[in-house]
């Protein structure tokens, strides 16, 4: 019986294939499943096994000839009286496809491989040094099979094993499996978007993480009665604006109160350098400013030298320069204490992260009217007061709870007894 060998279909949209090489010539015998020819499609070259055993009687396609899928490229005369398929009229194309789909049965190639394997076993004689490493690292047979021997006869050398162990230690599989098991964002799906952080964001991320890894953060909070200052500001804000050209805010009051407390508690105005404490002579306050690009902390230098109006002007100009992106690199360095006023966003209280290498930071909440108990000589009464919750974050490596508490209490007193006469 004569069997047609046809160009196999290698993929759904593939309609043709190129004959690259015949492994057999006319007149030669071919076993079933033995590689008969090689074809090229797309960028894939494939070895095609013979769908039947027999003698090759005709080769139609020459190397580099292109044939449509299903076209006859050779003919084999079956030696068996019993063809594989009982249905002789079955489409030839189907036969070849079935053959490709079937797992290869025993054939020459299998024997060849088993030979190869036994060779490999012979090579698996390991020197005592290699054996020691194998034992020490609990390498499995599978592991050993995947090591490429570079020694004589492909024998695995000590260097090969050590190289493998090193690779195994930072095993890609472990890392990737871990990542795969983590909940992942569907990248580019409708629900989420993947965007790389910009330079500033990356810096902030590193800076924040670094601070939490460095300082022993603790927090104390207190309520500060800002009623006097609130009244003062509403009374004076128009005159101030007319005179200075910008708004009178609460920030310079807070700065002035903090500068006074920092002068009384120099340890809050210091830095830790390994086992040493650096106490700073000047009070340089970092002011957290929200910008379009993220958080910036420009520094108001030598605050202790400024009077109230000087502080107002400096706060205003630095905030403006920050938002206008006109800061110089120096403006962001050398802070000795920081203040984050998230109260401007109407937040009641928060716990800011210390701005390294500082040891303290104020988190200023929004000034909100509260009903509070007022103690008088005539007894207690309830009144409406403008209350500002202030939080002090400090580094417990250097500052104990008592010092932190005394510091924030001093600040409260400064604010509640703020000297409001002749400020400007």
């Amino acid at each position: 019986m004569i069997i047609d060998i046809v160009m196999p279909k290698m993929g759904e949209s593939i309609t043709e294939g190129t004959i690259l090489e015949w492994k057999k010539e006319i007149g030669e015998f071919v076993e079933m499943d033995e590689i008969l020819l090689e074809i090229g499609t797309d960028k894939v070259d494939s070895e095609i096994p013979s769908p039947a055993a027999g003698k090759i009687i005709e080769i139609i396609g020459k190397p580099n000839d292109v044939f449509d899928v299903g076209a006859v490229i050779a003919r084999v005369e079956s030696v068996s009286d019993q063809p594989k398929s009982s249905d002789k009229t079955q489409e030839q194309e189907k036969i070849i496809l079935d053959q490709i789909k079937e797992t290869p049965s025993k054939n020459e190639e299998t024997i060849e491989i088993s030979k190869l394997n036994s060779n490999k076993d012979e090579n698996n004689f390991f020197t005592p040094a290699v054996n020691k490493i194998i034992k020490k690292n609990n390498l499995t047979k599978d592991d050993l099979l995947s090591i490429v021997g570079t020694g004589k006869n492909n024998r695995i050398t000590k260097i090969d094993v050590l190289k493998f162990v090193k690779l195994k230690k930072n095993d890609l599989a472990t890392t990737v499996n871990k990542k795969l098991s983590e909940p992942t964002l569907e990248v580019g799906s409708k629900e989420s978007l993947l965007n790389e952080m910009d330079h500033v964001r990356k810096k902030i991320a590193i800076h924040m993480r670094n601070s939490l890894d460095t300082s022993a953060h603790v927090y104390v909070s207190t309520e500060i009665d800002m009623s006097r200052i609130v009244e003062y500001v509403s009374e004076k804000e128009n005159d101030f604006k007319a005179q200075e050209g910008f708004n009178l805010t609460f920030t310079p009051f807070i700065f002035q109160g903090a500068v006074k407390s920092l002068s009384s508690f120099p340890i809050m105005n210091s830095s830790i350098d390994k086992d040493n404490v650096i106490t700073h002579k000047n009070v340089n306050i970092g002011m957290a400013v929200a910008t379009d690009n993220g958080l910036m902390v420009p520094v108001l230098r030598n605050c202790e030298e400024l009077n109230f109006l000087g502080l107002c002007r400096k706060v205003n100009s630095i905030a403006k320069n920050t938002r206008d992106k006109k800061l110089k690199p120096d403006d962001l360095q050398g802070s000795t204490f920081s203040i984050s006023n998230f109260g401007v966003f109407n937040v009641t209280m928060g716990t800011p992260i210390i701005n390294q290498p500082n040891v303290g930071i104020f988190g200023i909440g929004a000034i909100k009217k509260r009903a509070v108990v007022i103690e008088t000589n005539d007894g207690d009464t309830i009144g409406i007061k403008s209350i500002m919750v202030t939080t002090l974050g400090f580094d417990h490596r250097l500052i104990d709870g008592s010092e932190g508490s005394m510091f924030i209490e001093d600040f409260r007193k400064n604010m509640e007894n703020f000297q409001l006469e002749n400020l400007f």
């Binding site: 993929g11 593939i14 960028k43 494939s46 299998t110 490429v148 095993d171 890609l172 599989a173 990737v176």
Partner: protein, 211 residues
């Protein structure tokens, strides 16, 4: 889906890793080894596919770079330091018995990998491979024996692209080549890119994990 074995050969010359893949392909073919992915970085080498046009290599005869004629599909290409070469040895019967599907899937792996690095890469109609704008970043060439694959793809990470000046990669004259380093402007950590490849591979081939 079966788990896939990762074999990272590190830095290994072309000849040795070629032999290694051939042996592994045989093992996978008889079911002696699970489907695997080989990662390797080669010395500088030019390789031809079986039906490559030799005129696409324009280097002088005294060039020290080795040239290999391989049995994979595709035209000439360059391999060298800084390039991740990935040889999946897969029995496509475990996935899908289609050459077209496999080649598009490999492209998808490269595209997804680059997406994880914020690089937008695409296919070009009729041209196998992965492109960033008009420059090729990932090249593919595959050989199959009874649906078991060998060879695979190469992704230019920190590749010295000057080596491509002497060839017409994949026989495509009109377009240049590029690398992740060239696009991002910074040398990349190869092991991180390999992780990205494996994550993308798992996604595209629907693999649950690796061994």
């Amino acid at each position: 889906m079966n788990r896939i074995k990762i074999i990272d050969l590190g830095f290994l010359d072309y000849k040795n890793s070629w032999n290694y893949q051939k042996e592994l392909q045989k093992k996978v073919l008889i079911g002696d080894c699970s489907d695997s992915i080989i990662f390797v970085e080669h010395d500088s080498v030019y390789t031809f596919g079986k039906n490559s046009d030799k005129s696409n290599l324009m280097i002088s005869k005294d060039s020290k770079i080795k040239i290999y004629e391989t049995e994979r599909g595709g035209e000439i290409t360059y391999h060298g330091p800084g390039q991740i070469v990935c040889y999946p040895i897969l029995n496509l019967k475990n996935f899908k018995q289609s050459v077209t599907w496999y080649m598009r899937a490999l492209e998808e792996v490269i595209i997804e990998t680059l997406k994880l690095l914020n690089i937008k890469a695409t296919r070009k109609d009729g041209l196998t491979g992965v492109w960033v704008k008009d420059e090729k970043i990932g090249a593919q060439g595959v050989r199959m024996t009874k649906w078991v694959t060998m060879h695979g793809f190469a992704l230019n990470v920190n590749t010295d692209l000057r080596f491509f000046n002497d060839i017409i990669p994949c026989g495509i004259k009109d377009f240049g080549v590029t690398s992740i380093e060239k696009i991002i402007g910074k040398e990349q950590d190869l092991s991180l890119v390999k992780e990205h490849i494996l994550i993308s591979f798992a996604k595209v081939f629907n693999i649950k994990g690796y061994i």
